[in-house]
């Protein structure tokens, strides 16, 4: 039998087990992400691009944070650094008190697997797998046995409103549905942080709004920390805090109501 085999009854879930699996770990610390003096320089043969020039930020557990700013301001670079997807030129990133620069390849894999869930503008689902298998994959990487993983994945997909589509391939789904699947996948290993890079960038306005609401809902229900790089102003109403980034520096940091943001209505 295949390890990623389809469940005979996706709805016969052990809800108590799933609730236990989804409970948010409490390590006592309120600070889940701390970044200090991050700079990032991209070098090409002819010139250097300073994408970040010394960004610092602190994120508390359970916050919904939007990193906003014009395109080219360094949002995605900051996303990659905080998500341990690339290394800063200088500065440090601490995730749950751990300096990620000290970690080797395999420890980084562990961190990405369990501490962080990623959501991308282009969804990045593996198109060779069904929704269910996509959500099960991070759990397989974590070493979870496939029965438990299947239960949890089915529950998560139901949670994001894809309960009726769990056996579909991503190519058979709309953009919004694919992003819902990606959100379920990001939550697979009950991460401390969900990082979203332009999660509404490829979606129409209404679907984007649904996605933002879904993220806010999950953040509220599951207590997960959401950090989203975006230039979607619909995020303003939902986020607890906005970091406004411009020319590689965080120039404003505060509650949406307190900020005078360019372009915000």
């Amino acid at each position: 039998m295949s390890t990623l085999a389809l469940p005979e009854s996706p709805h016969g879930l052990n809800h108590q087990l799933v609730d236990e699996l989804l409970a948010v770990p409490d390590h006592g610390s309120k600070i889940v992400v701390r970044a200090v003096g991050l700079t990032k320089v991209y070098r090409t043969a002819s010139h250097e691009t300073h994408a970040l020039r010394g960004a610092s930020l602190t994120v508390k557990r359970g916050e919904y944070i939007a990193i906003m700013g014009p395109s080219g301001s360094g949002k995605s670079t900051l996303f990659n650094l905080v998500g341990a997807l690339s290394r800063p030129t200088s500065g440090k990133v601490y995730i749950d008190q751990v300096d990620i620069a000290q970690l080797d390849h395999d420890e980084l894999a562990w961190l990405r697997c369990r501490k962080i869930g990623y959501i991308f503008q282009t969804y990045n689902l593996l198109r060779v797998m069904t929704c269910l298998e996509n959500v099960m994959l991070p759990m397989a990487f974590a070493g979870l046995d496939s029965d438990t993983a299947r239960d949890k994945a089915a529950w998560l997909l139901e949670r994001v409103g894809l309960g009726h589509r769990i056996l579909h391939k991503p190519t058979e789904l709309s953009g919004g549905q694919q992003q819902r699947c990606a959100i379920a996948r990001a939550l697979a290993n009950s991460p401390d942080i969900v990082l979203a890079d332009e999660p509404t960038g490829n979606l129409d306005s209404r679907t984007g709004e649904e996605m933002i609401a879904l993220l806010a809902q999950l953040q509220h229900d599951l207590g997960v920390t959401v950090i989203s790089a975006t230039h979607d102003h619909k995020m303003l109403q939902r986020a607890d805090r906005i970091l406004w980034i411009q020319d590689g520096l965080i120039v404003k940091d505060g509650k949406p109501a307190d900020l005078e943001l360019p372009g915000a209505h």
Partner: protein
């Protein structure tokens, strides 16, 4: 709210938590089965693309196999034709000396090789009675001396494309002829033979080398493309917590499968192609009887092994690069 990390409460995870470094643990090594699942699903879904890669590998191997097996077939056919040539001239010489072969009794001494065997068949076909029993009461018209009697360097029918009447000598018994296929080779003959062998070996090495290089480049190109066009997928898997070793394993398994499938189909295709082309030129029967099939099957196995080795070698490097990439770079790359 639970106070323990949820993962630890699930079964099967406790072993990974033992190796924790500070707050950070080690990813478990996944069973090969999961990599296998990813590979087979990948091949099934990307069937069209997989077939293109497979075909490139199969064509490369078909080329290699047809060149190598073609050489064996060619050598077999050439040897057979040489042997028949010698045999025909030999029969002509005997007939010149003894008249029609019909009813003539011929004595053989020593072990005839494959080429000598052709001569004997021709003689029998011409009506001669061939026997290796010296005490046969009927009179013997001629004696044929074959190999295995004297010194090791001898001129056999196969090597000596130059059968000369000088090899025929008179028996002390009047009226009897001895054809000596077992005489020691002369220095010139040995030198010519060594020279021909050297040139043949150099030519074989050159053609084999070129065929191998062409095949290697073709397969490397196909595998390189199939890995690099999936950098984004690799980046995504790394974001989900895949270790480099898992990614390497996925691509090595895939390359093995493609290498085996492409190798087997390519080797058979190549063999068929060279057999058909020689069969059309020299006749199917000639090819069937004169080819060293043992050597051909060895080459078939060899080319399949070469296919697997080349495919895996070609896939390992890009997979290694991809596995070591920062996920951000892998995600950004577009091919």
């Amino acid at each position: 709210m639970s106070t323990t990390p949820p993962a630890a409460t699930a079964s099967g995870l406790n072993s990974t938590d033992i190796n924790q470094v500070g707050d950070i643990g080690r990813q478990p090594n996944l069973p090969v089965l999961i990599a296998w699942e990813v590979v087979t699903q990948g091949i099934r879904i990307r069937l069209g693309r997989s077939l293109v890669t497979l075909t490139s590998v199969a064509l490369g191997i078909a080329f290699l196999a047809s060149i190598l097996i073609g050489q064996v077939v060619q050598r077999g056919v050439q040897g057979e034709r040489d042997a028949r040539d010698v045999a025909i001239r030999c029969v002509a010489a005997l007939e010149a000396d003894l008249g029609q072969m019909t009813g003539k009794r011929l004595l053989t001494i020593g072990a005839p090789d494959a080429a000598n065997q052709r001569l004997l068949e021709l003689l029998v076909a011409a009506g001669a009675i061939v026997s290796d029993q010296a005490q046969d009461p009927a009179p013997v018209a001629a004696t044929l001396l074959f190999g295995g009697l004297g010194p090791s360097s001898t001129v056999s029918g196969r090597v000596a494309g130059s059968f000369t009447p000088a090899q025929i000598s008179a028996d002390p018994v009047p009226g009897r002829v001895i054809i000596n296929f077992n005489r020691p080779a002369t220095a010139e003959e040995l030198a010519a033979q060594a020279d021909a062998e050297y040139r043949n070996r150099a030519r074989t090495a050159w053609i084999t080398g070129i065929a191998l290089a062409v095949t290697a480049i073709g397969i490397t190109n196909a595998m390189l493309m199939s890995v690099t066009e999936r950098f984004r997928e690799i980046g995504t898997m790394k974001c989900l917590g895949a270790m480099g070793s898992f990614i390497r394993r996925v691509f090595v398994i895939e390359a093995c499968l493609i290498g085996v499938a492409g190798g087997i189909s390519g080797a058979l295709l190549g063999m068929l192609a060279s057999c058909i082309s020689y069969g059309v030129r020299y006749g199917a029967g000639m090819v069937m009887t004169s080819t060293a099939w043992g050597m051909v099957s060895l080459l078939l196995i060899g080319t399949v092994i070469a296919s697997v080795v080349l495919s895996v070698t070609a896939a390992v490097y890009p997979a290694w690069v991809a596995a070591r990439m920062r996920p951000a770079n892998a995600l950004r790359s577009s091919v």
